[in-house]
């Protein structure tokens, strides 16, 4: 039960598909038009009549579903995942977990993770009320390399790259999940140490390396 509207798992996933189509230009599954009809999306006021465009009400619900899904992915990836392989398995688990993140709990998870902005695949996580307040009360477990102070370090948790070319750059230089890493400088560019080598990267690249900090 979410905000008094009865939404099942299938509906939530359909809403997510529609959101990703509308906001992120991703293709719609072929089966979707038939499904939204079967679940009476238009009649429930989520879709504008005769179209596949989310109404305002539909957008609110879809946004919340996406947020929960991506937070769930982050939770799994940050806490358990090490490599890409795991991150992909985590996607399936995330689908299960997201439906357990009842209203309110997702805010706690969000704060626990340090109000992350992207999911492990690099897609943006829609902001919640908690992010707007930006009350970073809990120190996040996993941080992007660009957010770690100089002199601190940890273990590479995962590489979340938007482009496979960037990922290949990291891997061919021998930077892999599970390796220890330490930040030497943050300005004017980020300098980090991995093994016995030092590398310099810009913020864009450093935003893609997620590090589990030493505790």
């Amino acid at each position: 039960m979410v905000h008094g509207v009865d939404i099942g798992e299938v509906e939530q996933e359909l809403l997510e598909d529609l959101w990703q189509h509308q906001m992120e230009d991703r293709p719609l599954p072929e089966s979707l038009p038939a499904q939204v009809k079967a679940y009476h999306f238009a009649e429930r006021g989520w879709l504008a009549q005769g179209t596949l465009t989310l109404t305002e009400a539909g957008q609110v619900l879809a946004r919340r579903a996406i947020r929960r899904h991506r937070l769930a992915e982050r939770l799994l990836a940050d806490l358990m995942g090490t490599g890409r392989e795991r991150a992909e398995e985590a996607e399936e688990d995330a689908c299960v977990l997201e439906h357990s993140l009842i209203e309110g709990l997702d805010e706690k998870v969000c704060a626990f993770l340090g109000h992350p902005r992207v999911c492990p695949h690099g897609h943006p996580i829609p902001e919640g009320d908690c992010c707007k307040k930006a009350s970073q009360t809990v120190d996040p477990v996993v941080l992007a390399l660009s957010q770690i102070r100089a002199g601190e370090g940890g273990t590479i948790a995962y590489l979340s790259t938007h482009e496979s070319g960037d990922l290949q750059k990291f891997l061919s230089m021998g930077i892999h999940p599970g390796d220890p890493i330490a930040v030497v400088r943050q300005t004017p560019s980020i300098v980090f140490r991995c093994g016995h080598s030092q590398f310099a990267v810009d913020r864009h690249m450093a935003d893609q390396v997620y590090v589990r900090r030493d505790t």
């Binding site: 890409r84 990922l167 061919s172 021998g174 016995h196 310099a200 810009d202």
Partner: protein, 657 residues
């Protein structure tokens, strides 16, 4: 393993005619490959252009077991899945030829480098590992069980300190009778990839080796060239892997598999003491990486390295000596006397010893004016290169460079441009995107004066410090303005910055020397014929009267810029080489024909002017006719427009310099 690597026909042909054995040095950048190359060959590298491209590939010879073998030093690469053009060249050299490979490895960073060793093992060719930089590894507390490593890989492993010649004789001994190809390493890929590999190998038995099969799956064009497979077989194998998302992830999955396999091998073989650099190194590093200290250090480097060493010493002391003493007193009078005797006809004699004679002008410009400046610059550049300063500069400047559409890595070609723009244009291939290569090529052609030019310009404006300062400010503004405009309007991928910072090292005099010698050799081959050609063309022009006509045509353009008519000759030279043009001005300045204002306008226009013929040809080779001609048009227009604006501004404000 039967993955026979088929050499290209022309290479096979040459090796059949003379069965010279070849040894290829392979490895990451900064692992001491070129030091090892020099130690092995004992000679200066013969820097040759790789066919079809222009990346420097050094070749030399070594005596192995009484047999003369060729040693090839390939450009640095991180994996057989190339990202930059440079890496692509290195990889193609390996794939297309035959011979024993020596994987040069930084011992302390073995975990990062072993995946490439495994990839090389898969190629099924004789392989030796040179475990180099053992001194640094020991200092870092790293221990490598060489015997266990060698046994695990099936590859001879030799501990080396190439800079001190340690391990050299052991390496030569092994290479004298190359080892058999190593066994196929145990690398387990994710299930879908393994299934696709089996499918491809079953359907296309000609591609029985895992190596090519893997490269086929990665859609590597080199694989199709080396051992073609039917399209339907490839399609069937690809289908097993999955949709486009899975295929995109393939290179990463493959890299991860190599990484895992190498980790398994290193367990118990490699132990890390975890000591990171000496305190001195670390402190120096902090100073270089911190902008508050780094920029002042850059200032010192520019002042000492560029201004004092290249400008004052190379461009002043040495040029004066060569110009006035060597040429003025000995060389020119000698040739004048010789040709007065052997060539009685005045019209022919001017070809050799006239105002524009081959010896009195061509040879003099090339050796007395250009050589000292370029030579000292290459010494300074090699020192900077070997210390590891340049990547740190790249790190510091990255953010500023983003504003002109480049990333920090571009400092290498741009700094090299201050030595030779032609060479720098070739080096733009270390940049990853086409957009960056175009921007860097244009900026080099428009606004970076080469060492020869700087030398001449420093000499020209030496009596006019204000003009020199203004010249610098104008060039810098144009550089920034042109870069900013291109960054804004040129479509394409945004640049990203990722660079290894090699440890700070003291440069070895031997290495600096051999690098300088090989660069100078290249430079002379490039420049010298052009100077002689220019002399000959001008001579023909003079004898036929064409020269005066062309000069007469250029005169109005020169007058338009408020310059004396005599400067037209210098501008005409400028079409051959910008520095040649500037050197032409040199003679005018000495006779006091030009005022400070005119010198400033002339130097600005000549600096911006079209690049020299050599650079033009390289631009065409690297960027194609369309881009090159478009750039040339823009450059010519900009040069004259800025010259006119500058002259007008000087006239209107009534400033005299």
């Amino acid at each position: 393993m039967t993955t026979a690597l088929q050499p290209r026909p022309e290479e096979a042909g040459s090796s059949q005619a003379q069965p010279a054995r070849r040894v290829f040095l392979v490895g990451n950048p900064n692992v001491g490959k070129s030091v090892l190359f020099n130690a092995l060959t004992g000679s200066y590298a013969v820097v040759s252009n790789y066919p079809g491209t222009t990346v420097e590939v050094s070749r030399g010879h070594v005596e192995l077991g009484g047999e003369r073998c060729e040693v090839v030093d390939t450009p640095g690469m991180y994996s057989l899945r190339p990202i930059t053009d440079e890496e692509r060249v290195a990889r193609d050299i390996l794939l297309r030829s035959d011979g024993c490979m020596v994987h040069v490895v930084d011992a302390k960073n073995l975990p990062r480098m072993l995946p490439l060793t495994l990839e090389l093992c898969m190629m099924g060719r004789p392989l030796v590992m040179a475990l180099n930089l053992m001194d640094e590894a020991r200092a870092a507390g790293v221990h490598v069980d060489v015997r266990a490593l060698s046994a695990a890989l099936g590859v001879p492993v030799i501990e080396m300190v190439a800079t001190r010649g340690e391990g050299l004789s052991a390496l030569k001994e092994i290479l004298a009778s190359p080892p058999p190809p190593p066994p196929v390493p145990e690398v387990r890929f994710p299930r879908a990839i393994e299934a696709a590999l089996s499918e491809l190998r079953a359907r296309a038995p000609s591609c029985a080796g895992r190596f090519w099969a893997l490269h086929h799956l990665e859609a590597d064009p080199a694989a199709q060239e080396a051992c073609p497979v039917p399209e339907d077989a490839l399609a069937a194998a690809m289908a097993i892997i999955g949709g486009p998302a899975r295929l995109r992830a393939l290179p990463a999955d493959v890299a991860q598999a190599f990484h895992e396999a190498s980790k398994a091998i290193l367990r118990g073989v490699y132990t890390d003491g975890g000591r990171w650099a000496s305190t001195l190194q670390r402190r120096l590093d902090q100073l270089l990486l911190n902008p508050w200290t780094g920029f002042p250090i850059l200032g010192i480097v520019i002042y000492v390295g560029l201004y004092q060493f290249v400008g004052v010493f190379g461009g002043g002391t040495v040029v004066n000596f060569l110009e006035n003493v060597v040429f003025g007193q000995w060389v020119n009078p000698f040739f004048e006397r010789v040709f007065a005797v052997i060539v009685p006809w005045d019209w022919l004699r001017t070809l050799f010893v006239g105002d524009y004679g081959m010896f009195t002008l061509g040879l003099r410009y090339a050796t007395a004016i250009i050589f000292p400046v370029v030579g000292t610059f290459f010494v300074a550049f090699s020192v900077l290169e070997d210390t590891g300063y340049l990547p740190r500069l790249a790190m510091m400047l990255d953010r500023l460079f983003k504003g002109i559409g480049l990333n920090g890595r571009a400092v290498i070609p741009l700094v090299l441009g201050f030595g030779c723009d032609t060479m720098a244009t070739m080096v733009t291939r270390i940049l990853e995107t086409k957009r960056e290569r175009v921007i860097a090529t244009f900026l080099l052609a428009l606004s970076i004066p080469c060492a020869a030019q700087i030398g001449v310009i420093l000499g020209l404006l030496s009596g006019h410090p204000a003009a020199l300062l203004l010249w610098g400010a104008i060039m810098l503004s144009i550089f920034v303005a042109a870069g900013t405009l291109m960054a804004r309007f040129l479509p394409g991928e945004r640049p990203t910055f990722f660079m290894e910072l090699p440890p700070l090292r003291l440069p070895s005099i031997k290495n600096v020397w051999s690098k300088t010698v090989s660069r100078m050799g290249w430079y002379f081959l490039e420049v010298f014929p052009l100077f002689i050609l220019a002399s000959v063309l001008i001579w023909i022009g003079q004898v036929t009267g064409l020269f005066t006509k062309i000069v007469a045509m250029v005169v109005p353009m020169v007058k338009f810029l408020g310059l004396p008519a005599q400067a037209a000759v210098a501008f005409l030279f400028g079409f051959f080489r910008r520095d040649y043009g500037a050197a032409g001005l040199y003679d005018l300045q000495r006779t006091g024909v030009m005022t400070g204002n005119q010198l400033l306008v002339a130097t600005v226009v000549l600096t911006l002017f079209l690049p020299c013929i050599a650079q033009f040809l390289i631009m065409r080779k690297e960027r194609g006719w369309g881009v090159t001609l478009a750039m040339s048009g823009v450059i010519l227009g900009t040069a004259f427009a800025i010259g006119w604006l500058l002259n007008t501004a000087l006239v209107v404000t009534g400033v005299t310099l």
